[in-house]
Amino acid sequence: MGTQSDFFKKLDKTTILTYLCLVVIGWISIYAAEINDHHESIFDFSQSYGKQFVWILTAIVLGVIILSIDVKIFPTFAYLIYGVGIISLIAVLLFGTTVNASKSWFHIAGVAIQPAEFVKYATALALARIIYDNKSRVRDFKSLLKPAAIVALPVLMIFLQNDAGTALVFAAFVTVFYREGFISGWLLILGIAAVFLFVLTLLMNEFYVIGGLTALFLISTIFLRKKPSVIKQLFLVLIVINAYVYVVDYVYDEVLQPHQKMRIAVLIDENIDLRGAGYNLHQSKIAIGSGGLWGKGFLEGTQTKFSFVPEQGTDFIFCTIGEEWGFAGSFVLISLFVFLMVRIILLAERQRSVFSRIFGYSLASVLFFHFLVNIGMTIGLVPVIGIPLPFISYGGSSLWAFTIFLFTFLKLDSKRMELL
């Protein structure tokens, strides 16, 4: 029995508590978003909120199982789990069902399973393992090849499923490469800027973007007037960036035929229907914005009920929270997420094993990416890309995958003194 209480003592209970808070908030929010008059019980299993309750219970059982198995399993079977993940992606391409134009679901015994959700976890394991195995500790572009391939393979396959949103999530692993020294901060910033500008250019008139950048340059010349050489360099950068923006826009507008544009839009995400998404965004902002400081109260939301914004309980779940619990509620939720992600980073940093650290960073990064894109899109800071809000959005695959992800890390953390 001593080992039993020992086991719980070593678990990070703060993280578990945060997890439980998020999951319960999610369940209640799904109820508020999707309640209908004929099924007013939150335990009505014919409805999404009733089902989510089942998903939560089973997820917790899964979490307990993960905590009770031998920690050695995770590094040992990392590649095997990754392999199974890849096979499931192939299988879903061959035998899966198409939902919203994405062939990414298995329907087994009435339950829809999305393998891609679990592959994030498998990829994190394999990535941690392959970097851990690189005993030379060399950190350069060449040594990045294999880890990058580990990430690229599932991305490719998920793209083939036409589920660009989920594929995009794998970009989160860049954080791991950054932390482990494979890429420099400048490169990261450049990459982020390139993506940012790309999206900005597609969403806005390119002259605004070029104008804005030029204005930014002119302002910086005032501050840098003592360093003409830096100004010169910055000017060159400005020209390069403006050229990039212009080329992106030109290629998109002039060279591509409309149907090819559609393909690109679909490639980015089939949910990026620029008109439709604009409407959804508008509705979403109205819902959140009308929440005020304290919100309209539980089940009192007017915008999220009968609204024709799709995915009330899944991708746009934050609307319900923003509307019914206001700024106060949004503050609590965002704080909980940031707290959880920062805590995972801090826990990752205290690991003795590189494997555990990389795995922790993967977890925090994937969570962060979902958080960034999902909440960002509902408040109009990020284009509409259909990925769920972890622990909150309705859906068994997502909840299970993130629970396994989190609890595996908690298990690794509880054994940090034994792993090297």
Binding site: R137, R139, G181, K285, I288, G289, L293, F306, I379
Partner: protein, 607 residues
């Protein structure tokens, strides 16, 4: 670069950048949220002008016409006052209740009931508000957020007739809503008659509109330019086979009497008139007055809700001799040349069936003409005792099968409401009563004259007249002639049903029925210039005065109408049912009745 150990790795400072990035994004989100939730008030204004209301556009049901295009059933608009409880706020209750003429308590109760159903969906607050109230409300409605007026339609019948045939419309009940996803609470559905049978054709398709309503409860236009709206599709019209003048006339003839008239066009099976008396005004079972009136009709001792034409199970009496003779001729129990003398009764094995005096001797023709019971019993017994049949069971089964081919003992499964099958005992039925060897032809001899363990509906009797008129076949009697246009014939009932009797035997019966009207029991009801065939019947009624029955088809050559009439407790068939048939035939074929005194006698009669 080379990393020596994981603990002291040179990149650990990068955690600060990552953490900072997480926190910065979180802060950016919060700033953004602060802006849209606290600073920018546009969204609150949008939200209040963004209340979506789902409005159902109820499709008007299809119209119902008679065979000549006369409008029999149409729709009248009315208005329901609806409420969405969660949108009700800050209303001047006092003014509102005085507007509607309800008490404060009623107001509270109704709001509570609506809330119990749903806070988000509309409930009916007041059904069928008057046009005046509607006009008045329309102006004031903006002061009562959460309330709006839903236009609907109700059935209206210009002629107070054929209520049973039309059936009625009411709100779909819980079990219907459970089983059919089309129906929602408050939807209307055909509950009986044509309205029920042709529900899917008549109902059309309701539409839904989503409109945006502002804080002042004003409709500010369609949601997303109507992208999610569906148009209501008006129901399809039906052309019944009824001749409304004949129907009205029949109902008039049957006033103050109990019984029924069924008139069918032999060449198509189309029901020209179907009268059950007493009936009721179909306008009674419409809208908010329906339930009260329905209770009243249910309590009525004359049972006006009971459709005698389709459900009454009378022994047919002598009119059934026609059917029996057909079986006898077909099986060879009698033939064209059979002759018997009638001593005024049939007596055998201690059983006596009385007859009345008539010319002697009788053959097939004169036995029908004078409705001779003796001949009927002899032929029935001869037929059942034919040596061909190995047993009574076999004989009776053969007899029964012939009758079923004429439409007796079973339902037609037509488009008529609540049709019953009548009673035609099977061999098993008699085995159960008398034991397998306990019965013989004499046991069931009363069947020979259409009495005893036999029940037929007036519809079945009319169909017998149809079958004789057609010399051996019939079409399923039906009420809806055409769908959508008068030429688009109802495809359900185009099939001819042949009986198992050869048409030559029908020729004999047709001839016999002609003689009946010309110089037999029905001669009193002859129509000048219109030769027709008929058969009287007097149904013995142990509970009171006999029922008067008659079947006929007219004109004799190329018949246009076949009819059955039963008048309960009126006495002999020749006295009442035959004259009524005669009048109906005259009315239908000549469009007017010239025999005023003859008509007046019927109109004055009360039973």
């Amino acid at each position: 670069m080379i990393v020596r150990s994981s603990q002291s790795d040179v990149f650990s400072r990068r955690k600060t950048a990552v953490i900072l990035f997480f926190i910065i994004i979180g802060v950016i989100f919060l700033i953004r949220l602060y802006y849209i939730q606290m600073i920018d008030h546009r969204y609150k204004i949008y939200a209040s002008s963004n209340v979506q209301r789902v409005i159902t556009d109820y499709a008007a049901r299809g119209l119902i016409y008679d065979r000549n295009g006369e409008l029999l059933v149409y729709n009248e608009p009315y208005y329901d006052l609806m409420v969405i409880p969660r949108q009700v706020s800050n209303i001047d209750t006092l003014e509102f209740i005085s507007l509607l003429g309800i008490t404060r308590e009623q107001f509270e109760n109704r709001i509570q009931a609506a809330t119990r159903y749903s806070r988000f969906k509309a409930s009916v607050f007041e059904r069928q508000i008057s046009k005046d109230t509607y006009a008045y409300l329309q102006e004031k409605l903006f002061r009562f957020p959460g309330f709006y007026v839903q236009p609907r339609t109700l059935r209206k019948y210009p002629y107070a007739m054929a209520a049973h045939l039309f059936g009625y419309v009411g709100e779909a009940g819980p079990s219907v809503i459970e089983n059919d996803p089309y129906y929602r609470p408050g939807d209307y559905i055909g509950i009986s008659g044509i309205e029920k049978h042709y529900e899917e054709i008549l109902r059309g398709h309701k539409g839904t509109r989503i409109v945006l309503v502002d804080a002042l409860n004003r409709d500010i236009g369609p949601f997303q330019d109507g992208r999610y709206d569906t148009l209501a599709v008006t129901g399809t019209d039906l052309y019944t086979s009824l001749d409304y003048k004949l129907q009205l006339y029949g109902e008039r003839l049957m006033q103050n009497k109990r019984g029924s008239i069924v008139a069918i066009e032999p060449s198509s099976g189309e029901i020209l008139a179907l009268i059950t008396s007493p009936g009721y005004d179909p306008n009674l079972l419409v809208g908010r007055i329906r339930s009260q009136n329905y209770r009243n009709l249910q309590a009525d001792t004359l049972k006006p809700l009971f459709n005698r034409a389709l459900m009454a199970n009378y022994p047919p009496g002598s009119v059934f001799k026609v059917a029996n003779f057909l079986v006898g001729l077909q099986e060879g129990g009698i033939n064209n040349h059979s002759r018997y003398s009638c001593p005024g009764f049939y007596r055998s094995g201690g059983i006596t069936v009385r007859c009345r005096s008539h010319p002697q001797p009788v053959n097939v023709l004169s036995a029908i003409q004078y409705s001779c019971n003796t001949f009927s019993c002899i032929q029935f017994r001869n037929t059942l005792e034919l040596p061909r049949f190995g047993s009574m069971q076999e004989a009776l089964t053969t007899w029964r099968n012939h009758l079923m081919s004429m439409g007796f003992g079973r339902r037609f499964n037509s488009d008529l409401p609540y049709e019953l099958s009548g009673l035609l005992g099977s061999a098993d039925y008699y085995d159960r009563i008398y034991g397998t060897r306990g019965w013989r032809a004499l046991t069931v001899i009363s069947l020979a004259i259409g009495q005893g363990e036999i029940g037929t509906t007036p519809l079945q009797l009319a169909n017998l007249a149809v079958t004789v008129a057609n010399r051996g076949y019939y079409y399923t009697p039906h009420i809806v002639k055409a769908i959508e246009t008068p030429d688009n014939l109802n495809p359900e009932f185009l099939e001819r049903h042949y009986t198992t009797i050869d048409s030559v035997h029908f020729e004999i019966m047709a001839e016999a029925m002609y003689e009946t009207v010309e110089a037999g029991t029905g001669r009193f009801s002859r129509i000048p210039d219109i030769p027709f065939g008929g058969k009287t019947g007097t149904v013995q009624n142990p509970h009171g005065e006999n029922h008067s029955a008659f079947i006929a088809f007219a004109p004799f050559d190329n018949p246009k109408i076949a009819i059955s009439v039963i008048v309960e407790n009126a006495g002999g068939g020749a006295a009442w049912a035959a004259p009524i048939s005669s009048l109906m035939i005259e009315k239908y074929l000549t469009r007017e009745v010239k025999r005023a005194w003859f008509e007046q006698r019927i109109l004055d009669a009360e039973f």
